[in-house]
Symmetry: C2
């Protein structure tokens, strides 16, 4: 297979962007096999922008047409798992848009099914995993010798500002039935995945979420979560869509050092010469007083500052598309295996559930209870 | 009264420092009336450093000696309220060291009693309230036109590093019976008071605290709290004593702007030209896209950066002592009225209680339950 023939399901903003990347030959190992959308208006767009590419109004027909080796699911989140399963069933490789689904139960279904098809490629569009900055941070954390065991994580990520007009532009947007949530499901999945990818999954979470706090929406526009990693280490994750001068600051405190990332562009890494525990056990109060006098404790660590270009554009998506195709062609390791997608969904679900119950919840959460509570909100929304 | 004659109860580190400030004539309107300590060793120190000053080994005797107009309580926290009451009973003015006490029930007692003695001065040593930086931040918040109604507060204050040797230096230190807690009672009361002084009291708190996490102590050395202000606004307060490269970063997000304080030295104030709600309601997605392209939303706010000298030294304590004396002499308004002290104790108690019960608690807390849970820990400690 020289080039993977991709079937794009959903010709909206994201699907159109991927189509254009491929059309512009930015994805070296891919071509557009077919496009599918159930909106007749989109057929016109496809004819204009992607003339000559087969168009389907039913994705099953596309899967069975022989025109596509693989698909990408640029459709509402609820549909990602079932479309992925239908593809894999027909030996078509599947790249899921993030989040992998709305609730863990449906994501487990595709993960379980994908496990029975080990020869097929199943991946997820976690484009931020290609970000050089976060790859560097993960490398440092994975190499425990650098900043040691994590004691605290802290991500204040409130740069997801969205005006009311954004929400009003689509009736499915920021609804329980259309998206299954707000900022946790639509905007913050990037950072939720990065956090768990870099620092691991917590054992428990407690969340305070505000629903329709600063926007006229039924879902959450403001979230504060405490993460408990189970070994004494804790974390905080904060996000919202109403801070027009939002903050993006990630701090990871380890027993041998600290990493601070500001604006996803600048990383400051401080590596202690001696592990903190050893300093605590050995230092006299005289030495402590001396240390904190004058210029402060600069002598006890080595500081490294790295600056990166912020890459939030198409480059990341192109890289994931290319990596997906490369895995199909020659088993190049995946940047984001599809089975990883459940972690972000699990975390977002846990945050919702904790805020609904107003108590700390353990992971994995009670997935039946979550679905019941979610469906109750979907039904209430339909009735109102 | 030309100068207030101060009785210093407890000639430890703090009592000795205050004595020296007065001896060095740094407190213009005060003189040392007497010193009291129940440790015979301290009599020697008093004779050497403060020769000629009357010394008592019983504070009641000192209160009744006629040698003092006022006292300051440089003794373990549990004793502050009762010593304050005994002073006020004898028409002696009282300056309490912070915290005002260990549990709200005892602090209420002194507040109630002090209310019956309106002609006496009752104050508390919140020296950080004299810090020009925080006075400026409070002024901005109080003037609602500047950054508007608060939506979020966030204080990561982990600069309270203490080595094991610090804890081992006194058997009462960081114990339930000696101090009534750890970082919340000994180190963080500064910021807990500043936070409530500047941003107001929350209605509810949820706290995750680690007891003896990185230090061999029975009390908390690591705390993460979510504050709920009751109107949708929320906050996070994080502190610990095991981060040798600790962070001090306060962010206050309002509906018209934002304040960020770094290292208690540098304040960045961003004031929006238009309230955020109005921008959200009126901006089209085209305008939004334009705004976030290129240099980002710099055009929508005016930025002011202020730098301050960090004053953590004696200057602050001198200012509070002088203000206390001035209030006695000519009713100069107090920087920190004694009755304010209960807020910080209430918050610290609520954080403990929430972490013990592992659930969110409402303020005011159930003070009987708190005392019961505290005393249980004091008894367990004595038995072990």
């Amino acid at each position: 297979m020289a080039k993977v023939k991709l079937g794009i399901i959903g010709l909206g903003q994201q699907g159109g962007a991927y189509g254009n990347f491929i059309k512009e030959a930015r994805v070296s190992n891919m071509e557009i096999g077919a496009i599918c959308d159930n909106d007749p208006e989109k057929k016109k767009r496809a004819d204009e922008e992607f003339s000559g590419v087969p168009f389907y109004d039913n994705y099953i027909d596309m899967l069975e047409s022989g025109n596509v080796d693989a698909i990408v699911t640029c459709v509402p989140h609820y549909l990602h798992p079932e479309m992925g399963i239908e593809a894999l069933k027909r030996d078509v490789h599947a790249l899921l848009e993030k989040p992998a689904g709305v609730y863990t139960k449906q994501v487990k279904e595709i993960n379980d099914f994908a496990a029975t098809k080990p020869n097929l490629t199943y991946a997820i569009m976690f484009n931020q995993r290609t970000n050089e900055l976060y790859r560097k941070v993960k490398e440092i954390i994975d190499n425990g010798g650098e900043i040691g065991t994590i004691r605290r994580t802290n991500w204040l990520i409130t740069t997801w500002w969205r005006p009311q007009g954004y929400y009003d532009a689509g009736s499915w947007r920021a609804t329980w039935d259309g998206e299954g949530g707000g900022v946790l499901v639509n905007q913050a999945p990037h950072q939720i995945d990065l956090l768990q990818w870099i620092c691991g999954m917590p054992e428990k979470v407690y969340t305070k979420a505000q629903y329709g706090y600063q926007r006229n929406i039924p879902v959450e526009d403001d979230v504060t979560t405490i993460l408990d990693y189970g070994n004494g280490a804790t974390g905080v994750f904060i996000t919202c869509t109403h801070d027009i001068m939002g903050t993006d600051r990630l701090e990871i405190h380890g027993d041998k050092g600290k990493i601070v990332v500001v604006d996803s562009k600048k990383v400051t890494i401080k590596r202690l010469h001696t592990p903190e525990k050893e300093m605590s056990d050995k230092m006299s109060m005289q030495e402590v007083a001396k240390l904190f006098q004058g210029e402060g404790p600069g002598s006890i660590y080595q500081e490294e500052v790295l600056e990166f270009e912020s890459v939030w554009g198409g480059g990341q998506h192109v890289a994931v598309l290319e990596n997906f195709a490369a895995n199909i062609i020659d088993n190049t390791p995946l940047i984001a295996p599809g089975s990883d997608g459940i972690n972000g969904v699990e975390l977002a679900n846990a945050m919702h559930l904790s805020s609904w119950l107003n108590k700390e919840v353990s992971l994995p959460i009670d997935e039946e209870l979550y679905l019941e509570e979610l469906n109750r909100r979907r039904n209430q929304e339909k009735e109102s």
